[in-house]
């Protein structure tokens, strides 16, 4: 038995001349929540599709739950649950019917399936919608049902491909809540792809930054951000210089920058540092007029690791847009 849920060695996928995934070597231990972070077209979904046995790798090797994706695809499929980026439900059936088909396909025994369906429905709070046709569901509800379905057969590893793409910010947070809940309750390994820094931050134990099919950095979100400096807090005070000195007295690692009225501090966790600033200002008898936190964006992280900004990809972006559109019109 492998000690890693996922272990890839020089995993490579070529489409003609294009190398979508380039010598990817990764080790993801059991029960970890791992995020693949990168822009559209970086090779995230291709990597996931190979791990899910949808695509055959051009070269290299990957073990999922100890099974070779190339030689034992059926064993791999039994160990994993997948929530695809694009919708993959039958919207002319009810939510429960979709789950029942899934249970049959994955060989969950009937009596067990009945109980389990209730369990996963309650996890995503769709019990009272379960017998309605899926076409009447909202985008967020569909996503939740897909989450429930991905978990139904007790997978050891759950793949989530861009779990919140195309959803509005409120629904996104809602989905995060369910994902966290399921991580907590099911104690499974989760591998998710995303191009939202905040999503990786919110959900993942470790994040791999992927660009042009290569992993350029793997670490915890905190460390990744620390390496690029983290959140930038900007505060408006009367005497920034004194405040800067005061802050350094408490924590010599911070290096505040300041102008005549503005102090700028870069710290790993911006929100948690704000009280320090207020406190320090208070002790100097200063008033803080305004304060703002700027989170590092994927772009910042990217820039720092790859030396270039996220490339413009009109085509891909349009693809995403039309997908969002498709999701809406249904």
């Amino acid at each position: 038995m492998s000690e890693f849920a996922i272990e890839t060695t020089n995993l490579t996928k070529r489409f003609g001349d294009v190398v979508a995934v380039n010598n990817l070597s990764l080790k993801i231990p059991y029960k970890e929540v791992f995020g693949l972070l990168g822009p559209n077209g970086a090779g995230k979904t291709t990597t996931l599709n190979m791990l899910c046995t949808i695509l055959k790798p051009s070269s290299g090797k990957a073990l999922v739950d100890g099974h070779d994706i190339d030689k034992e695809p059926d064993a791999v499929r039994k160990s994993i649950g997948i929530v695809f980026q694009d919708p993959s439900i039958d919207d002319r059936l009810t939510g429960r019917e979709n789950l029942e088909i899934h249970a049959a396909l994955y060989g969950v025994p009937l009596a067990e399936a009945k109980k389990r369906i209730e369990e996963v429905l309650s996890l995503v709070e769709l019990e009272d919608k379960a017998d309605k046709l899926m076409r009447t569901y909202s985008g967020g509800m569909r996503r939740r049902l897909e989450l429930a379905r991905g978990l139904l057969h007790y997978p050891k590893i759950l793949f989530l491909d861009e779990p919140t793409i195309g959803l509005d910010p409120q629904t996104r947070e809602h989905i995060w809540k369910y994902i966290k809940e399921l991580i907590h309750r099911e104690k499974i390994t989760v591998v998710l792809t995303t191009h939202y820094m905040e999503e990786a931050d919110e959900l993942c134990d470790r994040v791999g930054i992927i660009d042009y099919g290569r992993i350029v950095a793997v670490d915890t979100p905190e460390n990744l951000k620390r390496k690029i400096g983290g959140d930038v807090i900007t505060a408006e005070v009367s005497k920034p210089k004194e405040l800067a000195a005061e802050l350094r007295k408490h924590d010599p690692t911070v290096t505040p920058g300041f102008t005549e009225k503005i102090i700028r501090v870069t710290v790993p966790e911006g929100e948690k540092y704000i009280p320090h600033i207020i406190h320090a200002a208070d002790s100097l008898g200063m008033e803080v007029e305004s304060v703002s936190v700027k989170k590092p964006t994927l772009n910042d992280v990217f820039l720092s690791y790859t030396g270039h900004a996220i490339r413009e990809e009109t085509g891909k972006w349009m693809g995403t847009m039309s997908m969002v559109h498709r999701r809406r019109i249904k």
Binding site: C52, T53, I54, L55, D74, R77, K78, I82, F84, D86, P87, S88, I89, D90, D91, R92, L93, E97, E100, I101, H102, A104, L105, Y106, G107, L110, R149, K330
Partner: protein, 250 residues
């Protein structure tokens, strides 16, 4: 056990999808009824040698047509499944491609079969009082016919990605297969060239079998030859479909 359950669930899914859509059922029953009542009645003006009642003569042919149109049309479900992503859900499941094809093909075939039964039940309306034993004996033949035809639809669906493309190909298949099957004229009186082409059409054997079983008349081939060909065709098509699905992953 688990395979049987998977096939059953996929079969049930096709049935639910079809029968929840009432307009679809009505639409697919309209065509055979038009042929039977309007075309069939209109053609009574001239007498065809050897045919006592033209409406009765085409009745097995119209059942064959119902099976054909409904089966081919349901192949479009593969394209829907691809378009709406459900295909991915099925393809990553730990079940064999044959299981998937059997579930889908039997589901679509059952839908066509049930529509065929509705037409069969309408027979008294054209003054045809079928022997109940003969009617029951026709059922297995109808189902196996539907299964083979259904797989033609699935095969097209597996290789095409667009609904428009499917509809175009469908019209290229439906009418020639229907006309060539001898459903609306007796093959033994047709010009030789036409008759030869007709024997390439798998529907010919089904219609011929149904005529012999239901009416006990107008058969052009021995019943056993018809049945062997109908069964062999269904078997061949099911195998072709699961092979095609294995070749085409998405």
């Amino acid at each position: 056990m688990s395979t049987a359950r998977s096939i059953y669930m996929l079969w049930l899914r096709e049935l639910k999808r079809e029968w929840r859509e009432k307009s679809r059922i009505i639409a697919s029953l309209t065509t055979p009824i038009l042929w039977l009542f309007i075309f069939g009645t209109g053609m009574r003006v001239g007498k065809i040698e050897g045919i006592a009642d033209y409406q009765v003569f085409i009745f097995p042919g119209v059942i064959g047509m119902t099976l054909l149109f409904s089966s081919i049309r349901s192949g479009i479900s593969v394209i829907w499944d691809k378009e709406f992503g459900f295909m991915k859900e099925i393809l990553v499941a730990p079940v064999s491609r044959t299981t998937i094809i059997l579930g889908k093909a039997m589901g679509g075939a059952t839908n066509a079969f049930l529509q065929g039964i509705i037409v069969l039940v309408l027979s008294p309306l054209i003054g045809l009082w079928l022997d109940p034993v003969r009617a029951v004996l026709a059922l297995p033949t109808m189902f196996v016919m539907a299964l083979g035809l259904e797989c033609i639809g699935l095969l097209i669906g597996i290789f095409l990605d667009s609904l428009e493309g499917f509809q175009m190909i469908m019209s290229f298949i439906n009418m020639p297969m229907f006309f060539l099957s001898g459903a609306i004229f007796p093959l033994n009186m047709a010009p030789k060239a036409l008759a030869v082409v007709s024997y390439i059409d798998p529907l010919t054997y089904g219609v011929d079998a149904l005529r012999i079983i239901l009416l006990g008349d107008y058969g052009v081939l021995p019943l056993w030859i018809d049945l062997v060909i109908v069964c062999a065709f269904a078997l061949l098509m099911v195998s072709l479909c699961s092979l095609a699905l294995r070749k085409r992953k998405q």
